[in-house]
Symmetry: C2
Subunit: 360 residues, 2 copies
Amino acid sequence: MKARARGSPAVPPGWRPATAEDIATAAGVSVASVSRVLNNTGRVGAATRERILKLAAELHYAPNAAARSLASRRSRTIGAVIPSLENLNFAIGIDRFRKVLRQQGYTLLLASSDYDNDKEEAQARAMAAHGVDALMLIGSSHNAKALGFLAARRIPVLLTWSCRPAAAGKPEPGALPCIGFDNFAAATHATRYLLDLGHRRLGVIAGGTVDNDRSAARVGAVAAALAQRGLPPPLIETSPASYLVSEGKAALHRLMRGKGAAAPTAVMCMNDILAYGALLAAAELGLDVPRDVSVTGFDDLDFAASLSPSLTTVRIPAEAIGNAAAAWLVDSLEGRQPALPPLLVAELVIRKSTGPPAAA
Amino acid sequence: MKARARGSPAVPPGWRPATAEDIATAAGVSVASVSRVLNNTGRVGAATRERILKLAAELHYAPNAAARSLASRRSRTIGAVIPSLENLNFAIGIDRFRKVLRQQGYTLLLASSDYDNDKEEAQARAMAAHGVDALMLIGSSHNAKALGFLAARRIPVLLTWSCRPAAAGKPEPGALPCIGFDNFAAATHATRYLLDLGHRRLGVIAGGTVDNDRSAARVGAVAAALAQRGLPPPLIETSPASYLVSEGKAALHRLMRGKGAAAPTAVMCMNDILAYGALLAAAELGLDVPRDVSVTGFDDLDFAASLSPSLTTVRIPAEAIGNAAAAWLVDSLEGRQPALPPLLVAELVIRKSTGPPAAA
DNA sequence: CTGAAAGCGCTAACAT
DNA sequence: ATGTTAGCGCTTTCAG
């Protein structure tokens, strides 16, 4: 069916969208009744209800969102500002978020911050001006000004993705609600797995950690796990551009270059893209994975299982987060006072890119 | 800086966003003047203008979007419905689109259709109800009902991504404006390149082509180019789930299995993810790329250059499309009657995954 | 150049 | 159970 600008016979030329008043007039009732029926609020006789519903359908009635917002002081619109759409994991989570929202009659306003808290604040203000009923933010590190502003405007905020254990389930008073998983715990788990395999010298490849508490928590967890066992701190390579395989590649080269026996026997990458780059670099260096060096990722993107060797990585519950966040926010806005779900789990998926160090 | 729900001293507890009337009162003028100043419409004395602007800043005034829309019958909101956010190329294009829009004071309403024109129609209607001033759609194949509806509601529609040559630059009367590139031409170019290398038996791995004119055009172009030189038609493998490397992998296996000397010497994949899968499958089959089989992709995603062998692919101007589409739409809504840019170019990027067939 | 006034289409008391 | 009546905050004639 080809595109065409005109020609549908369904609608006369000088057409104006039907209003609630049109329906009221046609049905011989008041706009109040129309509003009641269409919003399922207040009692209305079964007969008139039928009539109104029928007319609404016939006239292709769709409520004017602006008028509705203005009168009700609710926009049925929810904002989300995420670091970047180019991170597939966020894209997947947001897609679920939007779908659940729409099923409940809400619309998503989306913005991205490029991993910059100041931009995030600007976006949050723009969303406030657009009258969002609530806002979803990624992570737990945000500008105090932004949060203060949102609180003052009484705009509910839900943090997602990364939670400290205490913030999920039942947040301590004064803290913002959060739905997500514990990045620190997940990275700790992965680190211990490597340590239990016999590794002693670990390398870390991370994206920026500045306005990124997820990444910061993960890197911190590795260091902490190592320290706890009295091992030397990890060799850390960070690069601001976190989602380029070329960055992962370059970082592994830096990590191994001229280190000789001091080179790490395992390298933990803070996302799968970087891990992929690392795998590529290992091949270039003639290093066998996992014999010469083990590599882990984070995210479990589609391709992780297909790499060779297949990638050991931490699976992030992006869809679950999107679903739960949308559901909770809507329930919350509708006054149902939903309980915050417990911390979600990020599961370590063990595949072929990790093994005991050759020397062990 | 840690999250906290309260505590910013900047805003008193029982605070209500400032309205135009607040400013008017404070400045000792009427709301009409305030509106005029804030919208740069109608003449206002320099002195009062100053005063109003100053007050607006002090009171952190932000116009109420709903009221503005209701009164002006323009929402300064633009909708976009794309097939899927999980396609990185769309994510990149949309991100640019949104950024340009925001710079111009417009807000993006985003939805996805899962490559299903009926869902697209539903989303378009939802956007209409939300009062979008214009709508951006991907590709040139859409439900007539949806298009008719949009035309009846006088909602300007801009097609993007894929254009037939005639639709860009200056569309023929009655056709919708389009900003994008010519998929048919791009695929034709890639096919001829392979043919010139000496290939005679081509394979094609494509995602779904049902509500996807981009994919359909590409596949059609391959067949046409082959026919034009009197060669046998391509072996085509399509799979509905187009963005999984596992699909690409399976498809290449099907393409080569038991074909012997009749197996294609070159396989064209309609996106880089599928191409990546194909490369993986080739390795599994012990096939050398490009000696035993050449592989091409489409998109030129970040990783394409890093694969081994690096991938020959068609670079899609996603960012340029996003930029141009937003700019044109805004100019158009503001009555500036912008000219439609000429067809954009999708460039063939030749790398190492293609070469002459072994037999040649 | 500026103010007054009339809505935009809908919701939400308050009546009946 | 249904109608009446006010606005929501802003833009926009139309006067002055």
